[in-house]
Amino acid sequence: MRREGSALAGAGTVMMKELGDNLSSTRMRLLELLVFLTGAGAVFATIGEVREVVGEDPFVFLRIFTTSKGETLPSFAAFLGFLIPIVSIALGFDSVNSEFNGKTMSRILAQPIYRDALLFGKFMAGLTTLAVMLTALWLFVIGLAIFMLGLPPGTEEVLRGFAFLIAAIAYGGVWLGLAMLFSVQFRSSATAALASLAVWLLFAFFWNMVVTIITPIIAPVDPYNPMSVLYTVEVGQALSRLSPNTLFAETTMAFLNPATRSLGLVLQSQMQGAISGPLPFSESVALVWPQVTGLLASVIGLFTVAYVMFQRQEVRA
């Protein structure tokens, strides 16, 4: 049966209200502080090493994002890989269930809007908050780098840096979608937060172990068939790419390190005759297109599941 009226009427209003809440909440202030401190810390720590190679690397600016200080301090990009999920989860874990707990849900849904508008508006508000924060951080880091290196970034560096920013927002969208999914599923905000953090922990720390354990079971190495080794590696890689963290790490690598030619296994024979040097931007994009698509698809997939669950939910608490 068809419903009349726009499904998204009121979504803009919901989004503006949620955006206001997000940007003014103490929770976000703390996270912004944390993220900016880590960003600044990462840049200050690596700037020394980047300065040493100023004359040698045509993409010295991108080094700011990827250089890690020895074993102790991870690179800025790696920091983001950790922090973005935390920020996204903080933005999303109580977005729907707080309306139920505050008894505002039925009152708001009694206004002339569809549920679609409420969920979509909340999601867009979360994503916008994330985008604003990451863009600010990105500009901050670039500004700091210009100041400390004393040279401006080239066109392609800006382009690659921007592609990295977009990928970072998409990566945040995945975690926001997950957190919102749990906020629809669980009435208790604490449960939703814990469930989101559990998934994050799984992918951030345990997924590699899981892959190492599962891969030989699915694709055991046959000692008499050298090709089976190749197959095992491929299966392992496919499994590890189920994790958004892997997708983000690979995307980061391709965008920020132009010398990256392949994200998979490369055989000696394939490298023969290849001219070493950086890839043009368009080739790097082509290289990580599957990863970027995968991230976007996860965002849409998670939002859709949350959407269907929310539509089927009873309004009465």
């Binding site: 209200k17 009152r107 009694a110 206004q111 809007i113």
Partner: protein
Amino acid sequence: MSEPVIRTQQLTKAYGSRLAVDKLDLTIEPGEVFGLLGPNGAGKTTTILMLLGLTEPTSGTANVAGFDPLRQPLEVKRRVGYMPDQVGFYDNLTGVANLRYTAKLCGFTSKEADEKIAAALARVRLTEAGQRPVLGYSRGMRQRLAIAEILMKGASIAILDEPTGGLDPQSTREFLELIRSLKKDGMTILLSSHMLELVQSVCDRVALFSQGKIGLMGRVEDLLRSVLGGSHIIRIEAHGEGLEAALSAVPGVTRVANEGSGLRIEATGDIRGDIARAVVGAGGDLTMIDAGHASLDDVYARFFEGLPNAA
């Protein structure tokens, strides 16, 4: 007679095998104050949610202000103001900011919204408090803010779910006054409650709900007459054997029920004298006798006697 503003036909909602609302036929006329009464879990809130299009009926149809809540929920929700049981607002925002959010959801421009909000808040006497965060509001103030929201929206129908739940007597009285003034403005009001006395004083018509069905529906006086057979209730406290039989034999007495501490007698008129004589005549000691008009409580008690309590 004008078109009814709310009409349901065979409206049914099942949760699994349990019928929350069972083939409900309900008609509410414009300008009427209609009370849905019944114990918790009788299906009152489910009915309300179906009228608003927030829950899909399993079968049957509803029509609110000329629209189908299932297919045209936005039109319905534009015309209906809803105050849920345990109404909540965003605690961190002021009363005005809360209403402004609703106003924008309703599609009002900022200028329209500000005027409507100011007028609505003045009507419920929250003009001052409107500038403060809702966090510090009392229960009664939240309820009044919800009424302000309905007024601001310009709704022609107000649906109030348990409007006086948790209010102190003073706030309840004020709230009833507010409902009466809304009725004077020509608003149609549907309210659900288990507080019968309250409903009796404001409702034109009531429906008694039990396990998803309407047991009785009609004007309060009519119900009193039809259910109790008379509008006088006499309570006595007396000691003695066989009093019930003796009292049942008194002319004018329609029913005698044991109420624990004493007896409740339903009669066609004030026949306290006859009853006192009957008690004394039967050799009993009469310690208290009291007469009063029958209330909806009595109808309710009578109606739900013998029914398993759903609560």
